[in-house]
C-alpha cells in the first residue's frame, strides 16, 4: 500500500468529475484544447479555467483547513474585498508595491485573527463568529475605498492580475505555489494530523496536549491570508478595488469546492489537492457554460444541481441504502482487503 496509491484512491472521484466535465466541453467544442502563446503568455480555454479559478482555488485552500477543524469561514469574500481595497488604497497613496502587499496581507491576517479569537477564545460557533465579519466586512472595505471603485495603474500590482511568469499567468502561479506550499507545510509537519485531530474531537485533542487554541487561531489566520491573496489578485485583475462586488459569494464557491473535494463539513480528514480539483470543477463548469453560449446565469442552476448530487451521495441515508442493496458494507470490505495486503 504505497502513499501514491492512497492518494489516488482518495481523489479519483474529483479527478473523474473534472475529466468528465472537461471531456464534455471538448466534445462540444473541439477547439477547447487549443493553447497558443501570444505576447509571452499562454492563452486558451484550459489556461482560462486555471486563471479564472485562482480566487476560488486560493480561498478553498484556507477553507479546507478551517473546515477540517469542524469550522467554517463565511467571511472570506468580505475579507477579499477588504484586502483588495487596502491594496488599491496603498498603491494609490504611493506606498510602493512591497509595503502595499504587506499591508494587504496583514489586513487578511488581522481578519483571520479576529475570527480565530472569536472561535477559539470566546468559543462562539464558527458559522456565527464569521458571520459578523461577513456582514461588516464590505462596510469596512467601502470605508477604505470611500464607496467608489478605487482604480489604479501601477504596473507592478497589475502584474498580479494579468501578468505572467514564464508565460504562465501570475494568478495560476500564485495559487499553484500556495497550494503546493501549504500542502507541503501541512503534510511534512505534524500540522495536518493535529488539525484533523481537532476536527474529529476537540476536547480529546486538548487533553492529549494539542495546543488547540493556537492551532484554531492559526487556521483562521491562514484562511484570512489566502483570502487576502485572492483579494489582491481580484483587484489587480480589474485594476481597481470594488468593495461591493469583489469576492461576492465566493465564500460559497470556496465551501462548494471543499465539499466537492470530499472533505466532510463535520471536520476531520481533509485533502487540499482534492479541494483544488473541486475549485477547478467549478471553474470548468463556468467556462463550459460561457463557451456553450448559454447565459452565464445558468451557472447557478448547475451549481445547485452539483450540490444536490453531492448531498445525495454523501448523505447518511444514502449510505444505508447502498449498504442495504449491496449487502456488503464498504467499511468491512475495505478492512478485510487491508488485512490481506502485506
Amino acid at each position: 500500500m504505497s502513499g501514491l496509491g492512497v492518494f489516488f484512491r482518495r481523489i479519483w472521484p474529483q479527478l473523474l468529475t473534472l475529466a468528465v466535465i472537461v471531456g464534455l466541453i471538448s466534445v462540444m467544442f473541439p477547439g477547447f484544447f487549443d493553447i497558443s502563446i501570444a505576447n509571452g503568455r499562454l492563452y486558451g480555454s484550459p489556461i482560462d479555467i486555471l486563471n479564472r479559478g485562482a480566487p476560488v482555488a486560493l480561498l478553498a485552500i484556507g477553507m479546507t483547513l478551517v473546515i477540517a477543524t469542524r469550522g467554517i469561514d463565511l467571511s472570506v469574500g468580505a475579507v477579499m474585498a477588504i484586502c483588495g481595497a487596502v491594496s488599491a488604497w496603498g498603491i494609490t497613496a504611493g506606498y510602493g508595491l512591497g509595503a502595499t502587499l504587506l499591508m494587504a496581507l496583514s489586513a487578511g491576517l488581522a481578519c483571520g485573527l479576529w475570527n480565530g479569537l472569536l472561535v477559539a477564545v470566546l468559543g462562539i460557533q464558527p458559522i456565527v463568529a464569521t458571520l459578523i465579519l461577513m456582514v461588516a466586512g464590505r462596510g469596512i472595505a467601502q470605508l477604505i475605498t470611500e464607496g467608489a471603485i478605487l482604480t489604479f495603474n501601477h504596473e507592478g500590482l497589475i502584474f498580479f492580475g494579468s501578468g505572467s511568469i514564464l508565460s504562465v499567468p501570475t494568478p495560476v502561479v500564485i495559487w499553484v505555489l500556495t497550494g503546493a506550499l501549504v500542502t507541503l507545510v501541512v503534510r511534512r509537519s505534524a500540522l495536518g494530523m493535529l488539525i484533523e485531530a481537532i476536527g474529529v474531537n476537540l476536547r480529546a485533542s486538548t487533553l492529549a496536549g494539542v495546543n488547540t487554541r493556537v492551532l484554531l487561531i492559526a487556521v483562521y489566520m491562514a484562511s484570512g491570508l489566502c483570502a487576502s491573496l485572492a483579494g489582491v489578485i481580484a483587484a489587480a485583475d480589474i485594476r481597481g478595488a470594488d468593495a461591493n462586488n469583489a469576492g461576492l459569494w465566493l465564500e460559497l464557491d470556496a465551501i462548494l469546492a471543499v465539499v466537492i473535494g470530499g472533505t466532510s463539513l463535520l471536520g476531520g480528514r481533509f485533502s487540499l489537492i482534492a479541494s483544488l480539483v473541486g475549485a477547478l470543477v467549478i471553474q470548468a463548469v463556468n467556462t463550459g457554460i460561457l463557451l456553450s453560449g448559454f447565459p452565464p446565469e445558468f451557472n447557478l442552476i448547475i451549481k445547485a444541481v452539483i450540490i444536490l448530487i453531492i448531498l445525495v451521495l454523501q448523505s447518511p441515508a444514502m449510505r444505508t441504502l447502498l449498504v442495504f442493496f449491496s449487502r456488503d458494507p464498504r467499511g468491512v470490505a475495505e478492512t478485510e482487503k487491508e488485512t490481506v495486503t502485506p
Binding site: 509537519s189 484533523e196 487533553l207 492551532l215 478492512t335 487491508e338
Partner: protein, 509 residues
C-alpha cells in the same frame, strides 16, 4: 393461558435476544416486573442492562423473545410508542429540553388547546398540579435549566408517569445527585410504588439498591444470572452474583506495602479548585500506585482533572521531587511536567475516533515535541506496532480507525498514547470500565508492571477489589473532600466502604 391471575406480572420479558455484529448483547434473558414493586437491574458495564432496557422500550429491535405487558404481547416501535403502551423511561442525562419552561416540558405534544391555540394558563395550572404530587412547588414558567439536576430529574419522572402510567424505567437516575437529592428522589419513587406503578431501577450504588428495591435481577455478559428478593440476600452474595469471578489477586485481602525507596516524586499541598474539589495534600513516591476510591460525583474525577490542569487549580502548589515548583495550569503544562491522563469517558475525552490507531498513539508525543518536528510515518508505525504487540491491542493493523475497535482495545490505545511519552506520573480514571474480562486482567497486570518500572500512578476506580489488588495507598473521596488515606495492611474493601459510607460531615455537625 393469558387469563390474568393475581400473580401475573405487569411486565414480562421472555427469552429476549439481541445480537450486534461480533457480540451477543442479550442471550435469552427473562425479566419480570410486578405492579407496585421497585425492581433493580444490576450488572457491570457491558452486562446488557441498557440493551435490555432499549429492547423493552423499542429503541432497539430485538432479535428474539417476547415482551408481555399485562399478559399481552407488545412490540413497541420506539420510545414514544412504548410510552403509549404505558412504559416510560427516564435516562441518566435528563431527557428534557433545557430551553423550554417546566410547564412546556411537561406538556410537550399534549398541550391543552383551544381553537388550535395553546392555553398557556391551563398548561401552567396543569403543570403546577402535576408537580404538587411530587412535592415540588416551583415556578413552572421558568426554563428548565433554571433548576438543579435533581429537580429536573423529578420533572422528567413526572412527565414519564403522566404519559405512560404503568411502568417507569429509571436508568441511573441518581448518578449526579447528592445525598439530599437522592432522598428527595426516593420519596418520589416510594409514592409511585404505592400508586401501583412497576419501577425498574438501574443504579451502581449498592446501598441505594438495598434501601429502595424489593427485588433485583442481575445480568452478566448478556445472560441472566438470577432474580432475588432484596431482603433475602446480602451484599456479599450480590457482589458475587455481579462479579461472579475471582480476581486473580483476590487472594490478597489488603494492599501492598510500598518500599519507599524511590523517593518523593511529586507533592501537592493545599491543591484544589473551588466548586470542584476541596484543597488536599498529596505526596506520591516513585514507583507507587495511589488508588482513589469514592462514588461517582464524589470528587474523584475532579481530583484527576485538577491535577492534570483540565480544570486548573485555584489554590495550593505542586512541586517535584527536588522541590522545584511545577506549573499545572493546563494539560499542556501537566504533560510538560511528565504527566499523562487517561480520562474516564474514552469516547468524548479520549480517543480521536476517525484517526488511525497509529495516529492516536503518536498524538500526545507529537503534541509535546511540537508541530514542526513531525514524527515520521516509519517511526509512528514502529511505535504503534510495538505497543500493539506489547499491550496486545486487537486490531488488523495500525491504520484502522480507532473508533472501530472495542472498548478495551481503545483503552489500551489510550494507555499506549501516554506510554510512548514515557511519563513519570500517569493518571488513570476508571481504566477498566466497560471492557471485557480478559482485557480487564491485562490492564491490572500492566499497572503493576509500570509501577515496578518506577512509574508513579494515580488510579481511580469504582471496583474496590481492584484497588486492593494494586494500590500501595488509597485516598477515599467523599463529598468533594479527601476524607481518608489508607496504607498497606489497612487497604481493605471493608475499610474503604466504611470510609465512603461514613456519614457526611454536615450531618455530624
Amino acid at each position: 393461558m393469558p387469563e390474568s391471575d393475581a400473580s401475573q406480572p405487569l411486565l414480562r420479558a421472555r427469552g429476549v435476544r439481541k445480537v450486534f455484529p461480533g457480540t451477543i448483547a442479550l442471550d435469552g434473558v427473562d425479566f419480570s416486573l410486578a405492579a407496585g414493586e421497585v425492581h433493580a437491574l444490576l450488572g457491570e458495564n457491558g452486562a446488557g442492562k441498557s440493551t435490555l432496557i432499549k429492547c423493552l422500550t423499542g429503541a432497539y429491535r430485538r432479535d428474539g423473545g417476547e415482551i408481555l405487558l399485562d399478559g399481552k404481547a407488545i412490540d413497541p416501535k420506539g420510545t414514544v410508542d412504548a410510552q403509549n403502551y404505558g412504559i416510560g423511561t427516564v435516562y441518566q442525562e435528563v431527557n428534557l429540553l433545557a430551553n423550554l419552561t417546566v410547564a412546556e416540558n411537561l406538556s410537550l405534544g399534549h398541550q391543552p388547546t383551544r381553537f388550535g391555540m395553546i392555553s398557556t394558563r391551563r398548561m401552567n395550572a396543569h403543570a403546577r398540579e402535576v408537580l404538587s404530587h411530587y412535592g415540588l412547588e416551583i415556578d413552572v414558567t421558568r426554563t428548565l435549566d433554571s433548576y438543579s439536576v435533581a429537580v429536573q430529574q423529578v420533572i422528567a419522572i413526572a412527565r414519564a408517569v403522566t404519559l405512560s402510567g404503568k411502568v417507569l424505567i429509571l436508568d441511573e437516575p441518581t448518578a449526579s445527585l447528592d445525598a439530599q437529592e437522592v432522598e428527595m428522589l426516593f420519596t418520589v419513587i416510594r409514592s409511585l410504588r404505592e400508586r401501583g406503578l412497576g419501577i425498574v431501577f438501574i443504579s451502581h450504588f449498592l446501598d441505594q439498591i438495598f434501601r429502595i428495591c424489593d427485588r433485583l435481577t442481575v445480568l452478566r455478559n448478556g445472560r441472566l444470572v438470577g432474580t432475588e428478593t432484596t431482603s433475602a440476600i446480602d451484599r456479599v452474595d450480590l457482589v458475587n452474583m455481579m462479579l461472579g469471578r475471582e480476581l486473580e489477586h483476590e487472594v490478597r485481602s489488603h494492599g501492598k506495602i510500598h518500599s519507599g525507596t524511590g523517593g518523593t516524586r511529586l507533592s501537592f499541598s493545599g491543591f484544589g479548585r473551588r466548586g470542584r474539589i476541596e484543597p488536599f495534600n498529596l505526596e506520591i513516591q516513585a514507583g507507587e500506585v495511589v488508588g482513589v476510591a469514592g462514588l461517582l460525583g464524589s470528587g474523584r474525577t475532579e481530583t484527576a482533572e485538577v491535577l492534570f490542569g483540565v480544570a486548573a487549580h485555584d489554590s495550593g502548589k505542586a512541586t517535584d521531587g527536588d522541590g522545584t515548583a511545577l506549573n499545572l495550569a493546563s494539560p499542556r503544562d501537566a504533560i510538560a511536567a511528565g504527566f499523562g491522563f487517561c480520562p474516564e469517558d474514552r469516547k468524548t475525552d479520549g480517543v480521536i475516533a476517525d484517526l488511525s490507531v497509529r495516529e492516536n498513539i503518536a498524538l500526545a508525543l507529537q503534541a509535546r515535541i511540537g508541530w514542526m518536528r513531525r514524527i515520521s510515518d516509519r517511526e509512528q508505525k514502529a511505535m504503534a506496532n510495538d505497543y500493539i504487540r506489547k499491550l496486545d491491542i486487537r486490531t488488523p493493523d495500525a491504520e484502522k480507525p480507532v473508533g472501530l475497535l472495542s472498548g478495551g482495545n481503545q483503552q489500551k490505545v489510550m494507555l499506549a498514547r501516554w506510554l510512548v511519552t514515557n511519563p513519570s506520573f500517569l493518571i488513570l480514571d476508571e481504566p477498566t470500565r466497560g471492557i471485557d474480562v480478559g482485557a480487564h486482567a491485562e490492564i491490572i497486570r500492566l499497572i503493576e508492571d509500570l509501577c515496578t518500572q518506577g512509574m508513579s500512578l494515580l488510579v481511580i476506580s469504582s471496583e474496590l477489589d481492584e484497588l486492593v489488588a494494586y494500590s500501595h495507598r488509597v485516598i477515599v473521596v467523599r463529598d468533594r473532600h479527601h476524607v481518608a488515606e489508607l496504607t498497606g495492611a489497612d487497604i481493605t474493601t471493608d475499610n474503604m466502604v466504611r470510609a465512603i459510607a461514613a456519614p457526611d460531615r454536615e450531618a455530624v455537625a
